[in-house]
């Protein structure tokens, strides 16, 4: 185990938390990680990204196709928001909330705008997490979360 790497991993996690990219839920996921599922967090993040791509696609379609159905959009976004909450993607979640507000207000332009932000946050977070997991792998199994509490 490379102390530096594991320290870097911890630092990065700390930073992601502090900057609001991730929240407590992420920590919870790490706490769930154990010897039965040593890569639990990464697996969850992967599942999330796979699934969310589909959800985002639905939203995008709904935005560009024909007259906008705000109720439907809201529904899709609700799903997406729920999904984002699963890994603690705070910033993404917040953008989702804003998006939904625009839906409620039937503000198409607002929806489109916030949707782009949602996608952006979604992508940024993915990149950061990829880096994070790489660090975690390099740092060795004992450093990959599993109870590390960074608060």
């Amino acid at each position: 185990m490379d102390k530096n790497l594991s320290q870097r991993q911890l630092d990065m996690k700390r930073s992601l938390l502090d900057q609001g990219y991730l929240d407590e839920q992420f920590i919870q996921l790490e706490e769930l990680q154990d010897e039965d599922s040593p890569n639990f967090v990464e697996e969850m993040v992967t599942t999330f990204y796979n699934n969310s791509a589909r959800l985002l696609e639905n939203i995008e379609q709904a935005l560009v196709t024909g007259p906008i159905d705000f109720a439907k959009l809201d529904n899709y976004m609700h799903q997406f928001k729920g999904s984002s909450s699963s890994i603690g993607a705070t910033r993404v979640k917040n953008e989702c909330t804003r998006f939904r507000e625009h839906c409620t207000a039937a503000n198409a332009e607002g929806c489109i705008r916030t949707f782009l932000r949602v996608k952006q946050e979604h992508t940024i977070l993915r990149t950061k997490l990829e880096t994070y997991f790489q660090l975690a792998r390099q740092a060795g199994p004992s450093a990959s979360g599993g109870g590390a509490k960074v608060r």
Binding site: L32, S37, F40, T47, Q79, K81, G82, S83, S86, K93
Partner: protein, 591 residues
């Protein structure tokens, strides 16, 4: 771990469950794959036994297959195939399990809705471990309430009757050698197992209204209904039922619950109706040239699968042979409404007491017995989404006759098809005869009129719809099919699904299923459910055998029998399974 009888000794302190809550069997339903995995992991960490499910439909299927296979259900509110609230209702009614709702949305109105639909709790995502660790309390609480329920029904307080050996109660019922002094403890689970008759008053042993028993009950009710609309009384019912160990009090109490149930169904239907509809899942209408081919396309939502599955395949909706003018009128109305694509099923109940020669038969479906049930043709695919129109049109679908007339007229009513007991004119095989309602357009209300029987349209929204007891071939159904329904209706608490109802339904279903070859089964199932949920209108279920013979939804059938069977079996075993059957208060054992 299964909380079966022994558990009941003193709540959960029986030796068998020392490890409680470890091993709690949880069913998690969530369409989000990430959450599903996370929750599974979390619950496993709590030492629970977890089953996951990504679809509400699937969940219901699992639940029905193993009625007593789960202790608690956790479900997301927002799911693609079915509204989480609907699932909630179904579970509450059919299985009487505690259900927790989850959502990322914590809006008060949503939470309130959850509670209204019977959720034991509403969890906000992201969910914490500590919240999950404590979910066992809901299971425990329910058990305790059940016990209390039983006890209160039995007027146990202060009654210490010890009866040894056989004893004859005042009603002349044989007591089966129970030592009552210890009954209290045993009662909870023994009720279900004992063949204990009623003790001498004041202490009543809890009667377990098994499917068969309930069927008899409904049959009797319907019979009476036919003859004398408004005079259904416990004594008469009891006489007709011809069950030696049953007392008038048992019947009276059951009747009351039945009525309550119906009325609740009704209210819910109304409510739902005003919400836009009941959606019937799409039914492919494969109905072969049925006589009536009402094919309203059911609105696409398959949302509630169980709900309102009125899946009548296209035509089968009965052509109700409305002899009575009322019926005709209604029928037509129904029909016309059904033409719309989504007509809601609401059948106005025409004044039931007409001659009942109307036969509603949808191709083998509702035979409208002369009794009051007039089923207006049930459109094959009904989309319940036409609630609004539904509502206006049908007002009191249900006409509760005889004494059940508490049915508030409401748009959507549960269609409660009463198995026509009287069946006089119900002929199985009533196929939609000429009078049938023409095509889709006509059939609007699904079960139109049950002569006062509680025809409550099961609004798809409500799970009630599901339990539309469709009897495929009238023959078998005659009473049976409806009986369960009736049972279900009687006094079912909305949430507390009445096990007995199910059981009845189950047997009914079985009959139906065996008798028919239609995919009617599912329908029944749905119906049953429906009933439970809805208001319990005291309806006089005199529905003729509604036979939805042409139910072509295979899914229904499949589902149907399963859970019914489960219910039955579970009835005897697990306290969980026996929903606090408030109705079942008299300790009739499960026959």
């Amino acid at each position: 771990m299964s909380f079966s009888a022994p558990l009941m000794e003193n709540g959960f302190s029986s030796p068998r469950n020392e490890s409680f809550p470890a091993g709690l069997r949880v069913l998690v339903v969530d369409d989000d794959p990430t959450w599903l995995k996370i929750l599974e992991k979390m619950l496993k960490k709590c030492s629970y036994e977890v089953t996951t499910c990504g679809l509400a439909r699937e969940a219901l299927k699992l639940l029905r297959e193993r009625k007593d296979g789960y202790d608690i259900v956790i479900s997301d509110v927002n799911m693609p195939d079915m509204d989480g609230f609907k699932l909630l209702e179904h579970v509450g009614l059919e299985m009487d399990l505690p259900v927790l709702m989850m959502s990322v949305d914590g809006e008060t109105s949503r939470v309130m809705k959850g509670v209204q639909h019977g959720a034991c709790d509403y969890l906000l995502k992201p969910i914490r471990m500590k919240e999950l660790r404590n979910i066992w309390q809901h299971v425990f609480r329910k058990k305790i309430h059940e016990i209390r329920d039983i006890e209160s029904h039995d007027s146990f307080d202060g009654i210490q009757i010890s009866i040894n050996g056989s004893d004859l109660s005042d009603d002349g019922h044989m007591f089966c050698g129970e030592d009552l002094t210890s009954v209290r403890k045993r009662k909870e689970f023994e009720n279900k197992h004992d063949d204990v008759g009623d003790h001498s008053s004041p202490k009543k042993h809890r009667v377990v209204w098994s499917v068969d028993l309930h069927q008899k009950f409904v049959k009797a009710v319907n019979q009476i209904g036919f003859d004398s609309k408004y005079e259904v009384g416990p004594k008469k019912i009891l006489d007709l039922m011809n069950v030696p160990w049953l007392t008038r009090e048992n019947v009276a109490s059951h009747l009351q619950k039945y009525r309550l149930y119906l009325s609740r169904l009704q209210k819910e239907n109304d409510l739902k109706a005003s919400f836009g509809g009941i959606k019937l899942s799409d039914l492919p209408s494969k109905d072969p040239a049925g006589s009536f081919g009402v094919q309203s396309s059911i609105s696409g939502n398959q949302n509630d699968v169980p709900n309102g599955r009125y899946q009548y395949s296209g035509e089968n909706f009965f052509a109700q042979d409305l002899d009575t003018k009322n019926h005709e009128g209604d029928l037509k109305r129904v029909v016309s409404e059904s033409t719309d694509t989504k007509s809601t099923l609401t059948a106005d109940l025409p004044d039931p007491q007409e001659t009942r020669s109307s036969q509603m038969s949808f191709d083998h479906s509702f035979a409208s017995l002369d009794s009051e049930v007039n089923y207006t043709a049930i459109p094959a695919q009904y989309s319940w989404s036409e609630a609004p129109q539904f509502k206006e049109e049908h007002k009191p679908l249900l006409q509760l006759e005889d004494g059940f007339s508490q049915l508030p007229p409401s748009g959507l009513h549960h269609i409660q098809i009463d198995p026509l007991q009287s069946a006089s004119s119900i002929t199985s095989g009533l196929s939609v005869t000429g009078r049938e309602i023409c095509g889709p357009e006509k059939i609007k209300p699904l079960y139109a009129q049950f002569n006062g029987n509680h025809v409550s349209l099961l609004s798809p929204k409500e799970s009630a719809i599901d339990s539309f007891p469709v009897q495929s071939k009238s023959h078998m159904v005659k009473h049976q099919s409806f009986e369960p329904i009736s049972t279900a209706i009687s006094g079912m608490k909305p949430q507390g699904f009445n096990l007995s109802c199910i059981t009845d339904f189950e047997s009914c279903q079985r009959n139906l299923i065996s008798a028919t070859d239609t995919t009617f089964a599912p329908f029944n199932e749905d119906l049953t459910v429906c009933w439970l949920q809805g208001d319990c209108h005291s309806m006089n279920f005199e529905l003729p055998n509604v036979e939805f013979t042409d139910y072509t939804d295979p899914g229904f059938i499949a589902e149907f029998p399963i859970y019914l069977c489960d219910t039955l079996t579970s009835d005897n075993e697990c306290p969980f399974d026996t929903p606090e059957y408030p109705i079942v208060d008299q300790g009739l054992f499960l026959s």
